[in-house]
């Protein structure tokens, strides 16, 4: 018996040795900044091709650069690889003066590269997702090595916004690859060459991407030696790595923020998501035809209460697609919570006859716990006035396959809970509401057919006088506020958490990850 216990003790000890006290794990050295740069809605893990990027620009712009990008507050467009740019009085010619820059392989960056990139971005064969947005571009000229002239067939208020997404690519490295083979090239994830402050060193499949300082960077030698982008399949794992000190930065969901507030080892970065959340009425469904029904939905929902209790106050009610003062006219109806008024409006509209208490499918692609709670609150509030919505959450591909179909089945989504980018370019909302963008042409998934709204949007997009543009968007806001193509809800904030040791780090929760002027060459980390 004694021998047996000795045997088992040895066995146990052996298994415990195999499962624990390893020497304490040491994070990477100090001159390296690791982060979950592709965690969250602005990220795109596994994509290395800027032409195919629908998101992920925060990371891509650490080694690639566009000609222009937003400033860190996402308010105006500033030069990056263009030292300056000019717009002709008729708004049809954009002239970019290019900075004296070098590719990571030492070759000079010239206007020919910029022209080459523009042509790739306009060519659908390359798999570019920018083709439709670059339609106004009629020709690109290179009068000299440091000047790029972009000519438009018609003025376009959003062309600069699109230009921020066009990451410059080297002609000498890519011109030999046929356009239709470009997306399949291994160049993107093995030996890409950019002009940014860091250069690509390696990608360890599904683990991380490593960049090293570009010591010849025109903006000065970067303070960090390496920047590493760790991949996480699960956001909770990114937060664990942040707490364990293995990474110094990640995006976090708003319900994880309170745990970091008041913790001196971390800084919480808060920013406007530039995504307006809304209840979209499917205008193909007859139940929403009467505007009084749509108004009743607005009055029935206590948005202040939801923002306070579920968003911790970190959202702003929206009464049209916008919340910025310059875009919202003074006389906007605030649709303050008033269930009695909602009941009255429904009675006047004859809701009992229109639909009564029949269930209404409320489709969403938001599957977070926060969204589940929001929808539970919305469902309860609408039930109080006699509207019976039934939320159904599906993943984004399923949602898209239902709502983007040309002959969509209205009964599957009489209402949607969704979000749409409303800035920094105010024109971003156009595809979601313009009558000309009804699927399959575009993503006007609520099938809004409102002539007033379409003409207001068209007028705003065609406005060439920058000084008058805000007034045009105020008109869009006014029409939305009156006609209610959507029941607009709010614009929420989004968050990132960075270690307090990191200095001069610039990050903002930009839609799609930017690009914005993040100055990665200045990022540093204290010992």
């Amino acid at each position: 018996m004694k021998q047996l216990s000795r045997l088992s003790a040895v066995a146990l000890a052996a298994t415990m040795m195999a499962t624990s006290p390893i020497p304490a794990f040491t994070p990477a050295e100090a001159a390296t900044l690791s982060g979950g740069f592709d965690v969250g809605p602005g990220g795109f893990q596994g994509n290395f091709n800027p032409l195919a990027a629908t998101a992920g620009f925060t990371w891509l712009s650490v080694y690639y650069e566009p000609l222009v990008a937003y400033d860190e507050k996402l308010q105006k467009v500033v030069g990056i690889l263009a030292s300056s740019y000019e717009v002709s009085p008729d708004q049809k010619t954009y002239t970019f003066k290019l900075a004296d820059a070098k590719w990571h392989d030492g070759k000079p960056f010239t206007a020919k590269d910029a022209k080459f990139t523009m042509e790739l971005a306009k060519n659908a064969k390359t798999g570019s997702v920018l083709v439709a947005r670059l339609t106004p571009v009629s020709s690109v000229e290179t009068p000299d090595d440091h000047t790029l002239v972009v000519n438009l067939s018609t003025p376009s208020a959003s062309i600069l916004d699109t230009m921020t997404k066009v990451m410059m690519l080297p002609e000498h490295a890519l011109s030999s690859i046929p356009a239709d083979q470009l997306a399949k090239s291994t160049w993107w994830s093995t030996s890409p060459v950019g002009t940014g402050p860091f250069r690509f060193t390696r990608y360890v499949t599904d683990q991380y991407v490593e960049l090293a300082a570009n010591t010849d960077y025109r903006g000065g030698k970067p303070a960090l030696e390496k920047v590493i982008n760790r991949y996480f399949a699960d956001p909770a794992a990114a937060i664990a790595a942040l707490r364990a000190g293995e990474i110094q930065f990640t995006y976090v969901d708003s319900n994880d923020v309170p745990a970091f507030r008041g913790d001196k080892s971390f800084k919480v970065i808060e920013g406007n998501s530039f995504v307006v959340n809304y209840l979209g009425f499917n205008h193909d469904s007859p139940i929403w035809k009467d505007v009084r029904v749509r108004q009743a939905v607005m009055y029935a929902i206590n948005r202040e209460a939801i923002i306070k209790s579920l968003y911790g106050g970190a959202a702003t009610p929206a009464n049209c697609a916008y919340i910025a003062d310059r875009l919202v006219p003074k006389d906007t109806e605030p649709y303050a919570y008033d269930p009695e008024k909602a009941k009255q409006l429904l009675k006047e509209a004859g809701w009992e006859k229109i639909n009564g208490t029949k269930p209404i499918t409320l489709l969403t692609y938001y599957t977070t716990p926060l969204a589940t709670n929001v929808l539970a609150a919305v469902q309860a509030m609408l039930a109080q006035v006699g509207i019976n919505v039934v939320p159904r959450a599906v993943d984004a591909p399923t949602y898209n396959s239902i709502v983007l179909k040309a002959d969509a089945d209205t009964s599957q989504f009489q209402m949607v809970y969704a979000g749409l980018q409303n800035g920094p370019d105010a024109g971003s909302i156009n595809p979601g509401l313009n009558e000309k963008q009804i699927p399959p042409a575009g993503p006007n998934v609520v099938r809004a057919r409102m002539p007033d709204l379409t003409s207001a949007l068209d007028a705003a997009l065609a406005e060439t006088d920058a000084g008058k543009r805000d007034a045009r968007y105020q008109q869009v806001c006014k029409v939305m506020n009156t006609n209610l193509p959507w029941g607009t809800l709010w614009v929420a904030n989004r968050y990132g958490v960075v270690s307090a040791k990191v200095k001069d780090f610039v990050w903002t929760p930009a839609p799609g990850g930017g690009p914005y002027q993040a100055n990665p060459q200045k990022w540093s980390i204290a010992e």
Partner: protein, 319 residues
């Protein structure tokens, strides 16, 4: 014998074909295709922007044509390119994931066997002792806790709080490869994956040992004056292990399910992580390729087992 083996081989190939057709069909019944997965509903992007991509990927062709095209290429050893990552061929993606998964599951299995049998024996020998009761409690907790829960709790306790192990990945980013580094990353996910299996093995070992310890031949051995250690290890354990060995084989399925969660939480670059990601993005070629490779492995193992039975046990008639 040769005829039997050949017949089994042909059946195996037929099963693979049927499997690939079934998976292909099930995938296409899933709402949304890879292009739908590409569109972020929050970002204003026209479906028409991507129509060209959809047709260049052949996703607009009739289903049987798509399946035959895939099959034709697969027979030539070309599993196509990932749609989410167009620059990466599926075969390479899948092959690079098999190693890490085998490493993780193999380590977990080894841990589960060693721990499970050791505490199962102690539990049986010291029946109703404090050790036995605590081990039984552990087993109950281990069997009833789902893998994603134990993974997250383990991550929080051992990585975030105690900092004994890294929170994820297979190697320290930026460092050169080293075995020590790999083991450090391996221990925690493997141990967590082992819990459920260890608990099962422990319960079976304990029950089986208790039964064997009451057998006449054990009493005889003790009566002969054999040292207790040898009674337990030679006479009892060897006989008690037979049903446990059968069990271990059948829990490998459980381990594959658990590995998918563990790989996601710990970002372990294995087949599970690859499959979850591929399903989320409707990356058809990757799902098909991975399923085909897993299917080939399972069918080959079964085939080998059947043939081995026939060789080892003459009572099994073949032909």
């Amino acid at each position: 014998m040769l005829r039997y083996s050949l017949r089994r081989l042909i059946i195996g190939i037929g099963m693979l074909l049927a499997l690939s057709a079934l998976i292909f069909l099930l995938l296409r019944l899933t709402p949304g295709d890879p292009i739908d997965a590409y569109i972020d509903p929050n970002i204003p992007m026209s479906p028409s922007d991507l129509a060209e991509l959809r047709s260049s990927l052949g996703l607009d062709r009739p289903l049987p044509v798509q399946y035959l095209a895939w099959l034709g290429q697969a027979l030539e050893g070309n599993l196509g390119y990932s749609i989410k990552r167009l620059d990466q061929p599926v075969l390479g993606l899948v092959l690079s994931r098999i190693g890490p998964t085998i490493l993780l599951m193999g380590t977990a299995l080894l841990m589960a066997i060693v721990v499970g049998i050791a505490i199962g024996v102690i539990g049986a020998v010291r029946r109703n002792s404090v050790a036995d009761i605590s081990f039984s409690f552990f087993a109950l907790a281990g069997i009833s806790s789902p893998a994603f829960l134990s993974a997250l709790i383990g991550l929080y306790v051992f990585s975030v709080r105690l900092k004994w192990a890294p929170s994820g990945g297979m190697l320290t980013p930026g460092d050169e490869f080293s075995i020590i580094d790999l083991l450090r990353h391996l221990v925690l996910p493997a141990a967590l994956l082992a819990i459920a299996q260890a608990a099962l093995i422990m319960r079976y070992t304990r029950a089986s040992m208790l039964e064997v310890l009451n057998q006449d031949y054990v009493r005889t051995a003790r009566a002969k004056g054999v040292v207790e250690f040898w009674v337990i290890s030679k006479h009892a354990l060897r006989n008690a292990l037979l049903p446990v060995v059968t069990l271990i084989g059948s829990t490998i399925g459980l381990a594959i399910g658990g590995a998918i969660f563990i790989e996601s939480v710990f970002n372990w670059p294995g087949m599970g992580l690859l499959l979850v990601d591929a399903v989320e993005t409707r990356d058809y070629p990757v799902i098909m390729g991975a399923t085909l490779v897993i299917g080939t492995c399972v069918i080959s193992v079964n085939l080998l087992t059947d043939i081995a039975y026939a060789v080892i046990d003459p009572r099994i008639k073949v032909g």
